[in-house]
């Protein structure tokens, strides 16, 4: 198959389907609509605050799906073992900044059930391989909310928890210092929080520093899990895997490992994922879950611009026999050229070369 005509995001999508399928993930096809109520109950889980809604013919308030994970979780049946699902769907969001409606192509997977360390490693491996499909120059950052959440649960930090999480996410160490100073938080705790913003690098460099500072049981077991996963990923892939504790996600939904992938040339993360056992609990599902999404719409800009609209502009006159035109056009396309057949040279068409049939 000639794949040169495919746009970058389409090529990646085919690659992802193949990759997810090869690890036993089955495709989850869903409707574009969902009852709005699902999002009202889990508003904070959504990336954007606004949901595009409409009333259906029965008077129910419906939404154009802004997210796929919630729908997958809602439809999960409790079964033994592990369910592996993937999707590639358009989701619909309202831009917080411009208030414009946006259609976003997303592909991703969810691994739900009685998960163990193997499952976590498998999903992270697939995240790394997904990034490799997009670009050779990519980076996967991993964090573990177990370390962060234990610290933020401290009573003196609870009133400023939200602000602290924003600061950690922005690597804003001076912001943490100022918030903590206002509340007279203990220096040792302030330093621990600041350490989280500064923790960025290869696991073998970063994890020992954290292990020395975070000695409580929850943090130690989180760091041990992180160590296992990063060690595994370093063996198998070519993606640069670094630990980055500025990755924070809403802890009402997420827990455990969270990760984000970047590729060179795209200004924001193209892959985002994590463990969301807390969401499962909130939705009364007795299972653990981990998944990620790849934002395919961001890859549009990575497609190389073609120099011309067509490679060959083939012109003919009223005197040219039609068969001659058809034969020439066929010959040129078989050689792999993009051909435009015209009687007159169109004003705005750009072309590599001109071929005139008399």
């Amino acid at each position: 198959m000639n794949t040169t005509i495919l746009k970058n995001e389409e090529k990646v999508l085919f690659g992802l389907r193949n990759l997810f399928g090869s690890y036993g993930y089955s495709r989850f096809k869903m409707s574009k609509f969902e009852e709005y109520e699902l999002y009202v109950r889990n508003k904070d889980f959504l990336v954007s605050d606004s949901v595009i809604t409409f009333t259906d013919t029965n008077g129910r308030l419906m939404a154009l799906k802004p997210d796929v994970t919630l729908s997958i979780v809602k439809n999960t049946k409790e079964t033994d073992g592990v369910q592996r699902l993937y999707y590639d769907e358009n989701v619909y969001r309202v831009s917080d900044k411009t208030h414009a409606y946006k259609e976003i192509l997303q592909a991703g997977l969810e691994c739900i059930g009685d998960l163990d360390e193997y499952n976590l490693c498998e999903v992270l491996l697939l995240a790394a391989k997904s990034l490799e499909l997009i670009s050779d120059d990519c980076a996967l950052n991993i964090s573990h909310l177990g370390v962060t959440s234990a610290l933020l649960e401290r009573p003196e930090l609870r009133p400023i928890r939200r602000e602290l999480m924003t600061c950690i996410g922005e690597k804003n160490s001076h912001g943490i210092a100022s918030l903590c100073a206002k509340r007279s938080v203990d220096t040792e705790i302030t330093q621990k929080l600041q350490l989280l913003t500064e923790t960025y690098g290869p696991a073998d460099e970063v994890l020992p520093k954290l292990a020395a500072a975070f000695t409580d049981e929850t943090a130690q077991s989180a760091l041990a899990e992180l160590k296992t996963v990063t060690a595994f990923l370093e063996q198998v892939g070519s993606v640069r895997v670094w630990v980055d504790f500025s990755l924070v996600s809403n802890m009402n939904y997420y827990n455990g490992l969270v990760f984000r992938g970047f590729v060179k040339g795209v200004p924001t993360g193209v892959l985002s994922g994590g463990q969301y056992d807390n969401l499962m609990k909130r939705m009364h599902k007795n299972a653990r879950a981990i998944g990620f999404a790849v934002y395919l719409d961001l890859l549009e800009r990575m497609t190389e611009e073609k120099e011309f609209d067509v490679d060959v502009l083939l012109t003919y006159t009223d005197a040219t026999p039609i068969q001659t035109v058809l034969d020439k056009a066929a010959e040129l396309t078989e050689q792999g050229n993009r051909v435009s057949v015209q009687k007159r040279i169109p004003e705005k068409l750009t072309y590599g070369r001109l071929m005139e049939l008399k």
Partner: protein, 212 residues
């Protein structure tokens, strides 16, 4: 340095001050301070590219990756909440976001407070924390005029010395948040140009410590 670093500087006096800090950290590009109509300045051997932009646009250039790093006021960051890393408080361009009103203004809590501002999000969040019902009037300049002409009861704006307020018979009544210039970085650039950005951060940090 092996990767080109694009830097967005805020036009004006603050930008010039900031550039000097960049230069002292080893990120110099002397042309930047020339009085020319050029928009982009490059230091080819050091792979540095500087450009001047409107101060309120710096965060957009950085968030969208046109600039890897830049310097923006905390007011802009709070108002637009761009997805960037805020790496350092540069401790320059210091001022405060404040509520100001006509001298002798009595705030009647029984009425909706009319607030004129260039910063609707900051003003909205400030009063929402107090549970106060307000009517935000978004203006783009000459905010001080609003209470004088009765367009609003108060204004939420940046106050540096307070001279403009005083000259117009206004006075600051409450501080909303202190403001200063921040070094910001694009989140993806931070991954791929980490060494360069970290060198810059360390160079700037050192200057801040020396000036303490």
């Amino acid at each position: 340095m092996c990767e080109w670093i694009n830097v967005a500087l805020p036009k004006g006096r603050l930008g010039e001050k900031v550039y000097k800090m960049f230069a002292a950290a080893g990120f110099e590009c002397p042309e930047v301070l020339d009085d020319t109509r050029k928009l982009i300045f490059e230091n080819e051997p050091k792979k540095l590219r500087y450009f001047w932009v409107k101060p309120s646009d710096v965060a957009i250039y950085v968030e969208r990756g046109a600039a890897d790093v830049g310097v923006a006021g905390k007011d802009i960051l709070l108002e637009y909440q761009p997805e960037i890393f805020e790496l350092l408080d540069l401790n320059i361009g210091k001022c405060r976001m404040a509520v100001a009103a006509k001298k002798g203004f009595r705030d009647n809590p029984e009425r909706t407070l009319r607030v004129a501002t260039k910063f609707p999000r900051i003003a909205g969040e400030y009063y929402s924390k107090q549970g106060r019902d307000i009517d935000i009037i978004k203006l783009n300049g000459s905010i001080e005029l609003a209470p004088i002409l009765g367009l609003s009861d108060v204004i939420v704006d940046i106050v540096e010395t307070g001279t403009t307020l005083l000259e117009n018979n206004l006075e600051p009544t409450e501080t909303v948040v202190p403001i200063s210039a921040r070094l910001i970085a694009n989140r993806a650039s931070f991954q791929f140009k980490y060494n360069e950005i970290q060198t810059l951060v360390n160079g700037m940090k050192q200057q801040l410590e020396e000036s303490k």
